[in-house]
């Protein structure tokens, strides 16, 4: 009988040690610095000369992190949109990139953080615009994270014009057109982020 109890206790200890999240590292803005650079996989072009989301990875380009954000924003948001919409976009782009920098992938022998297509975020080298650069700078020292500081992916999709895009709020994704809608309604970028991402907090770092 004693052997049975000892065996049972051993099984419990062994099974408990298999807990998958017991030692998983949680990246927060308190224990993680903003990346200095990001690795961008450059995918091959389709016959018309456009980066192909299913194209072969040609090489991995290392880009300064802020420059990456500046070269994504005008290709994801419209630079003539309301500045608060651009700031909301700048924050989403930054947090998306930051999260993927912490979770790199390896495909076809290339290890990278993001690629240059809509698989991740549309990136065109040296395509920055003055208005979008200002938006990136405006949110430079701020992060939009879980209340405990955990860095999470802020995802977004196009959405529909002239609409608050409630269905995107339900899916916890920001609607790009929705951000412009709310900005035109007079909301600032924090309010726009709050609308689409629930239970998140604006935190300062650096």
């Amino acid at each position: 009988m004693k052997r049975l109890w000892v065996g049972l206790a051993g099984a419990v200890v062994a099974f408990a040690s298999l807990g998958p999240t017991a030692n998983a590292q949680v990246y927060t803005i308190d224990n993680t610095a903003q990346p200095a650079v990001i690795r961008v996989a450059i995918r091959g072009l389709n016959p018309s000369g456009e980066p192909d989301p299913r194209g072969r990875i040609e090489w991995v380009q290392t880009v300064p992190f802020e420059q990456y954000c500046e070269d994504v924003l005008p290709n994801e948001w419209i630079p003539s949109w309301n500045t608060e919409s651009l700031k909301a976009g700048a924050m989403a782009i930054k947090m998306f990139a930051w999260y993927h920098h912490l979770h790199p992938v390896t495909i076809d022998g290339f290890t990278f953080d993001v690629d240059n297509t809509v698989n991740f975020q549309t990136f065109r080298y040296m395509s920055e615009q003055p208005m979008t650069n200002r938006a990136v700078q405006a949110v430079r020292r701020f992060a939009y994270v879980r209340p405990d500081g955990e860095i999470i992916e802020l995802n977004y999709r196009a959405g529909n014009p002239q609409d608050p895009n409630w269905q995107y709020r339900n899916a916890q994704k920001m609607a790009q057109w929705g951000s412009e809608y709310w900005a035109e309604q007079g909301r600032n970028y924090v309010q726009i982020l709050q609308f689409y991402y629930m239970d998140r907090a604006l935190r300062q770092y650096g």
Partner: protein, 264 residues
């Protein structure tokens, strides 16, 4: 020796196994998943009714969605006036009022089928500020003294030591073919860059945004001994993908949805 196990022993083994199961399950992260699903469900209900659902407490400094500063989480009856607050360096914004729901929320996808959106038909200015940077395509260094010609207006400009042309008023042209369907979200125009010792560089589809300054970079390539057939280099800027999505949705037929209307 009897092969039967006494009842007491069976009870003890069962109790031990039950305790082990409870102990093991408590170490799995499923509790968090359940909590997340609960919040998700609250969100769905909230969107359907257009009301703010209570969410979990934020324990650290940060924004608590749906709760006004010092308030109890009850949403205001009417949209609050927008706060012109922007974060200032040195101070995080611990609380911000969540955007109140619009008076009549319309949940569910509402694919756009009308050919034009009224507020997108804002007055379209005739020109916008633009400057062009010319760089060496291999060294990425700025090229001074390059001549840039705007094809649509035949303006001629020259780059300075930093490779920039001066700011100038460029024609803001949207392709009239698309206007009755889905008008473009930005203007487009083309330039040609010339410089001695370099291939001509034709840069088409430059995006020009109304009401704001725009920039573009033209890449030029130096002629070398291996260049026997010398022709211009074409660089075509792509359409903005937000416009492509609208265009594809405009003509999508419900009998053959393809990838379907834009959705989360």
């Amino acid at each position: 020796m009897s092969r039967h196990v006494p009842i007491k022993q069976i009870v003890r083994i069962s109790a031990g196994a039950l305790a082990a199961t409870v102990l093991s399950l408590s170490m799995l992260p499923s509790a968090d998943l359940l909590g997340a699903q609960h919040l998700w469900g609250a969100e769905t209900a909230q969107a359907a009714t257009g009301t703010q659902a209570p969410v979990g407490q934020n324990t650290l400094q940060g924004v608590q969605p749906g709760v006004a500063p010092g308030g109890t989480g009850a949403p205001p009856a009417q949209p609050a006036p927008p706060r012109a607050t922007t974060p200032t360096p040195g101070t995080a914004q611990p609380t911000q009022p969540a955007p109140p729901p619009p008076p009549t929320p319309t949940p569910g996808p509402a694919p756009e089928t009308s050919p034009s959106v009224p507020s997108l038909d804002k007055p379209w200015p005739r020109s916008a500020k633009l400057r062009i940077k010319v760089i060496d395509g291999r060294s990425l260094k700025p090229l001074a003294g390059a001549e840039v010609v705007v094809i649509e207006s035949e303006q001629r400009l020259r780059t300075d030591q930093d490779g920039y042309t001066p700011w100038f008023d460029a024609p803001l042209i949207r392709d009239p073919r698309y206007r009755p369907m889905v008008q473009e979200l930005h203007g487009q125009l083309g330039v040609i860059a010339y410089k001695n010792g370099y291939r001509d560089s034709v840069h088409m589809g430059i995006r020009l945004n109304p009401g704001v300054e725009s920039e573009t970079t033209v890449w030029m390539y130096k002629l070398g001994p291996g260049d026997v057939r010398i022709e211009p280099v074409l660089y075509q800027e792509p359409f903005h993908h937000l416009w492509l999505i609208r265009l594809a949705d405009r003509y999508r037929d419900r009998s053959q949805l393809g990838e379907g209307f834009q959705k989360p």
